[in-house]
């Protein structure tokens, strides 16, 4: 690796993370990661899902204890017990979901806990005047008496930043600050960020939007799978190289086959089983169209936040659309809802297994049969023998390891939970499978098994939409890849183009004017 630009003057760093490790049961979230931050710089922190960005932030701000290494602030080792202590010391975090109180006024949010008082009574007039002055200094000119929620998200974030600065922050951590902002709001935000930087405040900038990183950041730290991959000067780092650092594997060593249990070459039927037309949702999806044929695995490519999950959820009827239609088997599905989608033969494996998938306290049997209950039951009753038959079939076929079908799903390993969810979908006899990160967070053995099942299903003639942050899985599993960025389709890879170089190049391409966010 080249000379690490972060190591030249360690004494000049305001915040340093040295060889920090953080382990959770079954996962090493951070593996001896180091990170340094100088006063007056905007430092990008990037990586795909599971790279360890949010864990690193939580380690720096006292949410998590360390399992090794140390955090130094102004050169001194520190241990923050909670975010409040970190904030008191001068490290503020601006979360994506703005962490302010939406129902109370802008001024009160700005001064909560340190209101100007006389004899114990808050001087409301003075507070408002000061709030107005502070915010207009940030380029935000709003009625400070109105509830925070009446502001746009951009302005809300500005209030959060203003509060942090008022608390004498020396380090401001911004977690995907622009993900739901309009371009104009982004510009205002950047102006403020530059101002903070010029006044000597250090900024950690977490984002997946490459253009913004190049626009605002001085240095970048890339994480992958909990490990430090690179620390570079932003301006001298090529886009292509940055993307391949994030996605993993060197650009040259791409193997078309063998890294996964997927094959990616299926006998694709000419018949379309699903067509999405012009899917549009404010801030998230812009005019997305594509088809899935019988027996085809269509990959959705894109960096984090490109709108992949939203696309799948919209097709499944779990996310309301502003415009656009979905045809299933050539028939337009009207007023799509999850139960209608299921009836029409479209099923989805949700991204967040714990929050959206499993019913933890129900048994394996009950979880598998859950979605099929309406169609298996007669007069509200399910035949025991039929149920047992189905459950046993899938337990055997997917090799679900549970002590018995009556074991609670919450007690299974992640891989087996995922298989239970797959079984839940398969007993609906679907025509189209929407798989959102089907192998995330599961062990290697289970991963290969799940991949093999996906392959087999495509061979049986199902249409599959595959979303995966693992580039191997996406490349090897897909017959075709639709590439998204900022909620738009920016390209499609077919045939021999389905390889890592082409995908990486497509993701790194500078957006043309027409598709700017």
């Amino acid at each position: 690796m080249q000379e690490d630009p972060g190591s030249e003057t360690p004494a000049g760093n305001v915040l340093e993370v040295v060889d920090v490790s953080k382990r959770f049961p079954g996962v090493t979230a951070l593996d001896q990661v180091s990170f340094s931050l100088r006063p007056g710089e905007v430092h990008a922190l990037v990586g795909e899902n599971g790279a360890g960005k949010s864990t690193l932030i939580k380690v720096m701000t006292g949410v998590y204890d360390l399992d090794g290494g140390e955090v130094r602030y102004h050169g001194e080792p520190v241990t923050f017990r909670n975010p409040l202590e970190a904030q008191a010391a001068g490290i503020s975090t601006i979360y994506q979901e703005v962490n302010l109180v939406p129902l109370i006024s802008v001024a009160r949010n700005l001064f909560l806990g340190r209101e100007p008082r006389t004899l114990g009574l808050v001087r409301s007039g003075a507070m408002k005047a000061q709030a107005r002055a502070i915010l207009s200094d940030f380029g935000v000119d709003v009625n400070v008496s109105r509830p925070l929620r009446s502001l746009g998200l951009g302005a809300q974030q500005m209030v959060a930043i203003a509060r942090a600065v008022q608390l004498d922050a020396r380090v401001v951590i911004m977690d995907e600050p622009t993900s739901s902002l309009e371009r104009r709001e982004v510009e205002t935000l950047f102006r403020v960020v530059r101002r903070l930087r010029d006044s000597g405040i250090a900024i950690v900038y977490v984002s997946h939007r490459l253009d913004e990183l190049y626009e605002i950041c001085d240095r970048v730290t890339v994480l992958r799978d909990g490990k430090l991959v690179a620390v570079e000067q932003m301006q001298t780092l090529e886009r292509l190289r940055l993307v391949s650092l994030m996605l993993g594997r060197d650009m040259t060593s791409v193997a078309r086959e063998g890294a996964t249990a997927l094959s990616g070459d299926h006998d694709v039927d000419a018949e379309k089983v699903l067509s999405a037309h012009h899917l549009t949702r404010r801030h998230q999806l812009h005019d997305i169209s594509f088809d899935i044929h019988r027996g085809e695995v269509v990959g959705l490519g894109g960096l984090l936040g490109a709108g992949r999950s939203e696309t799948a959820r919209a097709i499944f009827g779990a996310l309301a659309l502003d415009a656009g239609t979905v045809d299933i088997d050539g028939v337009e599905a009207k007023h799509l809802s999850t139960s209608k989608a299921i009836k029409a033969g479209v099923v989805m494996l949700p991204e967040d297994r714990k929050a959206q998938g499993i019913i933890p306290n129900l048994s394996v049997r009950e979880n598998i049969i859950l979605a099929a209950l309406p169609r298996l039951s007669r007069f509200g009753l399910v035949s025991d023998s039929k149920e047992k038959e189905i459950v046993e079939y899938f337990i055997t076929r997917l090799r679900i390891k549970a002590s018995s079908p009556e074991q609670k799903v919450g007690e299974l390993s992640g891989g087996n939970q995922q298989k239970v969810l797959l079984a839940r979908l398969l007993c609906l006899n679907p025509k189209v499978l929407l798989l959102d990160e089907p192998t995330r967070g599961i062990d290697i053995g289970a991963k290969a098994e799940v991949q093999a099942v996906i392959d087999e299903l495509a061979r049986e003639g199902l249409g599959v939409l595959l979303i995966s942050s693992e580039i191997d899985e996406l490349i090897e599993g897909s017959d075709r890849i639709v590439v998204l960025r900022d909620g738009r389709v920016i390209g499609e890879l077919t045939g021999d183009d389905v390889d890592q170089d082409t995908l990486t190049a497509a993701l790194a391409a500078t957006p043309t004017d027409g598709e700017a966010p």
Partner: protein
């Protein structure tokens, strides 16, 4: 390997705690029975059993419905008012010489309508269950009193009084009815798609929604079931007292029912319905009440003891978030 051997003992302790948490009510029943056997004369007599069954049955019937509602992570404070409604409907229907089957139907419809209103507020308007049922709790009792008029009315119809006060094989008729109801509810919860859906919704509403379950319909039906059961309890109480007192009938039953459910080991966080636990909870609370009142420990301590037990039970069944 090291990790495995290290986690082993904690798992065992966890199992023990979990076992105790779900079975503490039976242990407590045994303890109270042993104590009562010594301090209460004729504790093990048919007549005493009868007395206890009269007292516990209406609470248990209401608690059955409450258990189902709590299974969906909900709560229904309107049950006491539904009892009052039933108490108001009975004499009105009798004065119009309505056939008994129609009378019962009318009472059940009353409970079902009330349940539909609460359920719709919860499922469609997405009001918090406490609040939704609270508003019905206030309004419905007022309505019941208006329907009845200010004076209590005596109810002499032999079917109704027999339903609430009559005996079969030396024990209250309504206790048999309650057992049948319990079996029906247990069947609904354990065997039907409705029962499976409701526990799934209570455990993880978003996942249930994404699995395509009819979440709204199930939630409304759950509150309807609760309302219907409370209405049946209302008929029992009216028949037992031989008069309709909508201003007082079913007072505090929401607390009694919730107590029976949580004392029976059901967590308020939902996802679980324990019919037999609830029965045990109701029985335990009745035994404690009986011991305190029979034993001349002034009955004024009763309310305090009841309150303290609810708190303990809720605390014990709370699913603690792992830090």
């Amino acid at each position: 390997m090291a990790a495995l051997t290290m986690t082993r003992p904690t798992v065992d302790r966890e199992h023990a705690v979990r076992w105790l948490r779900s079975n503490a009510v039976w242990v407590a029943i045994v303890l109270v029975v042993v104590v009562d056997a010594f301090v209460i004369n004729n504790f093990f007599s048919v007549s005493n059993l009868r007395v206890q069954l009269y007292a516990v049955t209406p609470t248990f019937v209401v608690a059955l419905g409450m258990a189902v509602v709590i299974g969906t992570k909900g709560i229904d404070l309107s049950v006491g008012a539904v009892i009052a409604l039933a108490a108001a409907i009975v004499p009105i229907a009798l004065s119009h010489h309505l056939a008994i089957i129609l009378l019962l139907l009318l009472v059940l419809v009353g409970g079902a309508v009330s349940g539909t209103v609460v359920g719709s507020m919860v499922a469609i308007a997405r009001v918090q269950p406490i609040i939704a049922s609270l508003s019905i709790m206030i309004g419905l009792r007022g309505l019941a009193v208006i329907m009845n008029g200010s004076a209590d009315k005596s109810v002499t119809d032999p079917f109704i009084t027999g339903f609430g006060g009559g005996l079969w094989l030396g024990q209250p008729r309504m206790a048999y009815v309650a057992v049948v109801l319990a079996l029906i509810v247990a069947f609904l919860v354990r065997r039907t798609t409705f029962g499976r859906s409701l526990t799934a919704i209570g455990d993880n509403r978003e996942a249930a929604q994404l699995a395509g379950l009819p979440v709204r319909r199930v939630l409304i039906l759950v509150y309807v079931l609760c309302g219907v059961l409370a209405a049946i309890a209302g008929v029992m109480i009216t028949g037992n007292q031989g008069q309709a007192t909508p201003s007082a009938a079913g007072m505090s039953f929401e607390l009694f029912a919730i107590t029976a459910v949580v004392v029976g080991g059901t967590p308020l966080e939902g996802g679980e319905v324990r019919i037999f636990g609830t029965a045990a909870g109701a029985v335990l609370m009745q035994l404690i009440t009986a011991s305190l009142t029979q034993e001349q420990v002034q009955s004024d301590y009763l309310l305090i003891v009841q309150g303290a037990i609810v708190l303990l039970a809720v605390y014990a069944t709370m699913k603690r978030k792992l830090r």
